[in-house]
């Protein structure tokens, strides 16, 4: 995705603002999930599973050999809305450097994308876990770069 994470967040927020009907908004989220290049079943294991989600969620990172290196994520869920939310998160976070990933304020992002309004508190915990997992990968990459 071109531009900074912040520009991606702005773009997504503008898209969400187009929907008046709840059904259309969720239809868009579900479509984003369907279009996502999902993680194959062979890579869904304990190593890629994110804890804290009511439904099952997997996220797998890869690091490219760029300078600085960029983190690429693929994810999946057995629930369609969660899968769509993963797709949204990956638009913001995937293909970014560790610095870019850590520059995003998660609470501000959730607020901008109205994710806190769209998902139940139990589910939101799952989303928070996903973001935490992504940020932890970025922190580890940054430590490795510094070492």
């Amino acid at each position: 995705m071109a531009g900074t994470p912040q520009e991606t967040i702005d773009e997504l927020a503008e898209n969400f603002a187009l929907f008046d009907e709840m059904e259309d908004k969720y239809g868009y989220i579900v479509d984003l999930g369907r279009q996502m290049d999902a993680l194959p079943d062979s890579e869904k294991g304990d190593e890629t599973k994110v804890t804290g989600c009511m439904s099952q969620v997997w996220i797998k990172p890869t690091v490219d050999d760029g300078d600085p290196p960029r983190l690429h994520f693929r994810g999946d869920s057995d629930a369609f809305i969660v899968k769509g939310l993963i797709a949204i998160l990956l638009k913001v976070y995937s293909g970014r450097t560790a610095e870019e990933i850590l520059s995003v304020d998660p609470a501000e992002m959730m607020h901008r994308l109205e994710l806190e309004n769209h998902i139940s508190p139990n589910r939101r915990n799952g989303l928070v876990s996903m973001v935490e997992t992504i940020r932890n990968y970025a922190k580890r990459l940054r430590e490795k770069q510094e070492a």
Partner: protein, 425 residues
Amino acid sequence: MTTANAVDRTETATIAPEAPGFDVAAVRADFPILAQTVRGKPLTYLDSGASAQKPKAVIDAITSLYTHDYANVHRGAYSLSEKSTSLYEGSREIARRFINAESTREVVFTKGATEAINLVANTYGRSFLSEGDEVIISELEHHSNIVPWQMLRDEKGLVLKVVPITDDGAFDLEAFKGLLTERTKIVSVAHVSNVLGTVLPVKEITQAAHAVGARVLVDGCQGAVHIPVDVQDLDCDFYVFSGHKLYGPTGVGILYGKEALLDAMPPWQGGGDMIATVTFEKSTWAELPAKFEAGTPPISAAIALGAAMDYVSALGLEKIAAHEHALLNYAQQQLASVEGLTLYGTTPGKCAVMSFTMDCAHPHDIATILDQSGVCIRAGHHCAQPVMERFGVPAMGRASLGMYNTRDDIDRLIKGLGSVRKIFG
């Protein structure tokens, strides 16, 4: 305030009675929480199986206790403590009547049904079962009626046997009889399944178990709220239920046990109120039921549970059940019209619990979309993972009815499921 009243009146006018002699509009007016809106939509509460809402009588009992009558129980020589004690013991008498126990000595306040089952496993189970003895449970049990027995099995070297359920969710009585042996010491089964709504034949189960000398515990969490319970008629040895599913507070439950059994059982937790004498060499135990109520009990919750049982009894559990059954029939008809929906648990006479999956969406997707319209259902494994496995699904959605639900609630559920189809189908 004026607006809220106006809304209430409008809503009241649309509610037709489901069963004779049961005024659901008046009942709804007793539950303050139901008057609210969620995202501008009327609250549609279809998760009473997880925890029921509370009538004003229960809320008032708590307020009144703390405003006028509160002190610790069984301790002070002053009048406030006597008042508090008499309300607490009065609630025990209400519970005795509610399940028709012979004596209040057979009614123990616990912190919930889970604790009650653990109490029996840890006292009766530890004292009277030995290696090679058998405990029988069923495939439809809540985790609370599985895990305590597994822990006891591992500690004592017991055998845990599981009665299968049939495709429609029925308890297989013949298979159960085939599992009973001379070594069977405890049979512990639900009165009503929290996922499938199945009513278990607990009287027949008890007769067959007693024939081989086994004791019977009935987990009545979903039973006592839908079916009038008479423990003497059932002849079960233990009956447990929680307060919060019976329109009462959380943090309190009831353990009924036959007096001779409770007498023979050692105490579980030690502390204040459960002793007769204490020296450093030896302590002796208090009489029943205090022997099993160590420490300061959940005083306000126990008293408010009494108010909840009085409220339910005044309406009449038979009438509540008739209302719920009529509504269940309507709901099941409506659900049958939803494309791609599978309902689990279809035994005749089942209680008002409807678990389902849809071919187009995960139960969590369904619950999320319904929540957008103010419709509250449960999604997940319902603390009954073996039931999920039995039907080959990771999770189910569940709508469970209480005394205050109406056709409008069902219609909003069906409309919400229409949105689910539109989004995911």
